[in-house]
């Protein structure tokens, strides 16, 4: 009779051995990581979770001042503050997922070096935490929008049916951030350069994404280049949905989904290849 083994440890050869089933078995762990991150984020701070609220509001104030008033960039006729708030919370979702997951291997080396669990649980939990942060900030956005709707002398805005796509947009932005993040984290096990790159790369990328300006102000070939940035269509659609401003680049949204899935796929393959032996090189 053939013996049933619980586990067989072999040198990993197959490229597509993605280990997703096992990752799903550890879903309780993912959940505990998420609650840990949320609980410990603002421990021993005076304002605590209020920081979730303050960050996007402050960013929008500065954006309104610099890009709205000094530079005088068009916001497609909707209140500037709302325009920038919508942009910064969606951008924060993407960049937060990217930055936080890009440190997976190096940041968790002390845990990974002592005990085995599917490594993919860590970046997944990190991205879920980012979605949680986004939902809080989204509520702030909602409150601000209602306030603006009742303010006199403010340009109007409207919610369109595109807003119903919001869940898809959120998933896309966090999956994209996760995908790029785990690619970077896999490469940083050997090359620490990328950690430096992430810091300023993300802040530069923001200017190549219509966060502080409207895609409509960009024309011709530059528009196409802008829209090939997979983050752009999602942010444009989010803003169109909730404020009725900007464009609905459906075709580019389709392309950006393809990019997102390809990035995720490459990310998971790379991550799985690295996770097995990274303790020897990190």
């Amino acid at each position: 009779m053939q013996k049933q083994w619980t586990a067989v440890i072999k040198p990993k050869k197959k490229l597509l051995d993605l280990n997703l089933k096992e990752t799903f078995k550890y879903r309780d762990l993912i959940w505990l990581f998420v609650t840990r991150d949320i609980k410990t984020r603002y421990k021993q701070t005076i304002l605590g979770p209020l920081w979730f609220v303050i960050q996007p509001l402050m960013a929008s104030v500065i954006h309104t001042l610099v890009f709205g008033n000094i530079a005088g960039l068009s916001t497609d006729g909707v209140p500037q503050f709302l325009f920038y708030l919508a942009g910064s919370i969606t951008w924060a979702l993407f960049s937060g997922a990217l930055t936080a997951t890009s440190n997976t291997f190096v940041g968790n080396a002390h845990v990974f070096g002592k005990v085995y669990f599917p490594r993919l649980t860590t970046p997944i939990a990190t991205s879920l935490t980012q979605i949680f942060n986004f939902l809080i900030q989204f509520a702030i956005f909602g409150v601000t929008a209602i306030v603006f709707a009742f303010l006199p002398d403010q340009p109007g805005f409207k919610v369109t049916w595109v807003a119903a796509l919001t869940p898809l947009l959120l998933i896309q932005l966090s999956v994209l951030g996760l995908g790029i993040g785990i690619i970077i984290s896999s490469l940083t096990t050997k090359y620490r350069d990328l950690q430096v790159l992430v810091g300023f790369g993300v802040s530069l990328l923001m200017y190549l994404t219509p966060v502080v300006y409207s895609a409509n102000t960009v024309g011709g070939k530059l528009y196409i280049a802008l829209m090939l940035n997979p983050v752009s269509p999602a942010i444009e659609l989010f803003r169109y949905g909730w404020l009725g401003a900007g464009s609905t680049p459906w075709m580019y949204w389709g392309i950006s989904w393809i990019t997102t899935l390809v990035v995720l796929f490459i990310g998971i393959i790379l991550f799985n290849k690295i996770e097995k032996n990274f303790m020897d090189t990190v």
Binding site: P11, L32, K114
Partner: protein, 205 residues
């Protein structure tokens, strides 16, 4: 005669190879520089002067073809001098790093105590850390729910269980960590010099 069914761990032809010298310069630029120098048969600008140059294929076999069968109910101790590969073998068994060749077959849930308290977060309370650490070690939330009282009793820190563990004394910290690890109900338990925990009374447990 013990049959194949009674085998808990079967290791066949296990090898683990490490490369000698430094693995890359740590930066992409350095690696490209070294590679470009090698291509032109020039001296590597990143190598230390006078340092012994390790060739690319100079390796060290930490484990070289290990065969080992452990039956259920057996207790096996591995003794050897420094650098014999004891810890490497344990790392491979607990899947922290992968083997170069060969395979390990396991029957039963495995838990390794290379260190206790892995993943403890100082900001979280004792109770929260039991859940987190338990899950890292492979327990589900339901399992921990059913054992939490036992774990707290075993740890002897019930009074402080809802205090952040960063306020714990080091003894309390380790006792809590050990309590979680010892409630894993695993068929295979791997330990690496961790049993020096707690005071006399606690060690007897």
């Amino acid at each position: 005669m013990r049959s194949e069914q009674d085998i808990a761990i079967q290791i066949t032809g296990l090898k683990k190879m490490y490369r000698l010298g430094t693995i890359g310069g740590g930066t992409l630029q350095g690696d490209i520089q070294s590679w470009w120098a090698r291509v032109r048969h020039k001296e590597d600008p990143n190598s230390k002067i006078g340092a012994k140059a390790y060739k690319k294929n100079e390796t060290f076999m930490a484990l070289d073809g290990i065969d080992l069968t452990v039956y259920k109910g057996e207790r096996v101790g591995i003794i050897g001098h420094n650098g014999a590969g004891k810890s490497t073998l344990l790392k491979l068994l607990s899947r922290v790093t992968g083997p170069t060749e060969g395979e390990i077959k396991l029957d039963g849930r495995i838990s390794s105590m290379l260190e206790v308290g892995t993943g403890f977060n100082g900001e979280l309370t004792g109770r929260e850390n039991i859940y987190l650490n338990g899950a890292i070690l492979g327990m589900t939330k339901a399992e921990i729910d059913s054992k939490i009282e036992q774990i707290i009793d075993f740890s002897e820190v019930r009074q402080f269980i809802d205090t952040p563990v960063k306020r714990y004394s080091s003894g309390m910290y380790v006792k809590l960590a050990f309590a979680v690890a010892s409630h894993l109900d695993s068929e295979i338990l791997i330990m690496d010099e961790v049993l020096a925990v707690g005071d006399m009374a606690f060690q007897k447990k």
